[in-house]
């Protein structure tokens, strides 16, 4: 015979699982297509992906001398 406390804990677990199961889902094919679309739309701004014009990435320049 289990204690009331563990039954309550089990009840809460079941409620949490029901909440998570109730999430509305889209298909992976649609989700993946949208992730892909986001990548494509933003690729040109992604310096680590496509690089930037010479001189405009401060880390690719030799470091400046601190004068003070």
């Amino acid at each position: 015979m289990s204690s009331g406390a563990s039954v309550n804990a089990l009840q809460r677990l079941v409620e949490q699982l029901k909440l998570e199961a109730g999430v509305e889902r889209i298909k992976v094919s649609q989700a993946a297509a949208e992730l892909q679309q986001y990548c494509m739309q933003n690729a040109c701004k992604d310096a680590l992906l496509v690089g930037v014009p010479a001189g405009s990435n401060p880390f690719r320049e030799p470091r400046s001398c601190a004068l003070f």
Binding site: L17, S29, A32, Q36, Y38, C39, F59, R63
Partner: protein, 346 residues
């Protein structure tokens, strides 16, 4: 009575097995299959452009300032340093009263930093350029946990901080008053990492823990809204995809994974037979196409998020990579290591 309990147990196992199927264990279309016709990426030339030396022990955490230039880092020896990554100069340094400062974060304004670790607290230090002022004098204790602080992040403003702890909880705090605004219970073991959703996507954050679970939380209600349990070991790092529709994780099981929030399941696994050490830290490039991951075998692997393949492996650190963040404008990323240094790569 015991009938009620029996019914609950049946319900529990039925829900758990459904979730096992829908969340990721059954084979299903994955991102790389959908992305088959996407052009493969070419060769990458990414090198260490700056090395930040000055910590006396393992670097455990780092964060970028919104100015894309300053970096805060924290170390096992209790030191927290603010660097100008362009010049590699140290601008501020403070010694914490504890060792193992596992978490640090830059405030959105750039005017303060937060940090903590084995002291079980998260403290905020305003940054001052007054040479006469002692940084430690203005320290403000904000968060109190009952075990170590593993991660911290300011929300959209300097006014609130989100924390994760070895005590198994996350919490949201008001910086000014130190008041607990919301706590997040649900992890079955230490929480090791957290990341806030990009501001456009609303008030949620994701956390990862030693219970192998990644959990997505509603910040207002304190409720867990989605949970994912496909990793086979501790989750050391979680990071949202730039659109906010997905997040990546890095784990001691030597894999990184991608979870889509709207499909509510794992949609990619980034792994290789030759990679057998844990991934400690992950972050996306600006477009989300690349995933940078630091590992306990001292390397950084660069993954094509869509194709699922590794595009580059970066050597340089002489001990575990413990922390990694891409700069706010995506021009570079910084890694911190147990070799006492930080490296900026571009």
């Amino acid at each position: 009575g015991s009938n009620h309990e029996q019914m609950l147990k049946r319900g529990y196992w039925s829900l758990k097995s459904d979730s096992f199927i829908t969340k990721g264990k059954m084979p299903v279309l994955l991102v790389h299959q959908v992305a088959e016709r996407v052009e493969a990426l070419g060769q990458f030339v990414m090198k260490t452009r700056r090395t930040l030396k000055g910590h006396g022990n393992k670097v455990l955490c780092m964060d970028w300032c919104k100015d894309k230039r300053r970096i805060v880092s924290s170390s096992q020896d209790g030191k927290v340093i603010v660097w100008d990554s362009f010049t590699t100069n140290k601008e501020h340094a403070v010694t914490m009263p504890c060792t193992w400062v596992m978490a640090c974060a830059y405030a959105p304004s750039g005017c303060a930093i937060a940090c903590g670790g084995l002291d079980n607290k998260c403290s905020v230090y305003p940054l001052t350029f007054d040479k006469n002022e002692n940084m430690a004098a203005k320290k403000k204790s904000v968060a109190m946990h009952t075990n170590y602080l593993s991660a911290c992040s300011f929300t959209n403003s300097d006014m609130q901080i989100l924390t994760a702890s070895g005590d198994g909880t996350c919490a949201l705090w008001d910086v000014e008053s130190g008041q607990l605004l919301q706590s997040f219970h649900g992890h079955g073991a230490d929480v090791l990492c957290l990341d806030l959703a990009p501001s456009e996507t609303g008030n949620t954050f994701v956390s990862g823990g030693c219970d192998k679970k990644a959990m997505v939380w509603d910040m207002r209600s304190g409720q867990c809204v989605q949970a994912f349990e496909t990793h086979e070991s501790d989750i050391n790092s979680v990071r949202y995809y730039p659109s906010g529709d997905a997040f990546a994780s890095g784990s001691d099981d030597a894999t990184c994974r991608l979870y889509d929030l709207r499909a509510d399941r794992e949609v990619a696994v980034y792994s290789k037979d030759s990679i057998i050490f844990g991934a400690s830290s992950v972050d996306f490039s600006l477009s989300g196409r690349l995933l940078f991951a630091g590992y306990n075998d001292y390397t950084i692997n660069v993954w094509d998020v869509l194709k699922g393949s590794r595009v580059s492996i970066l050597f340089g650190h002489e001990n575990r990579v413990s922390t990694l963040r891409v700069s706010p404008d995506g021009t570079a990323f910084c890694s911190g290591s147990w070799d006492h240094t930080l490296r900026v790569w571009a």
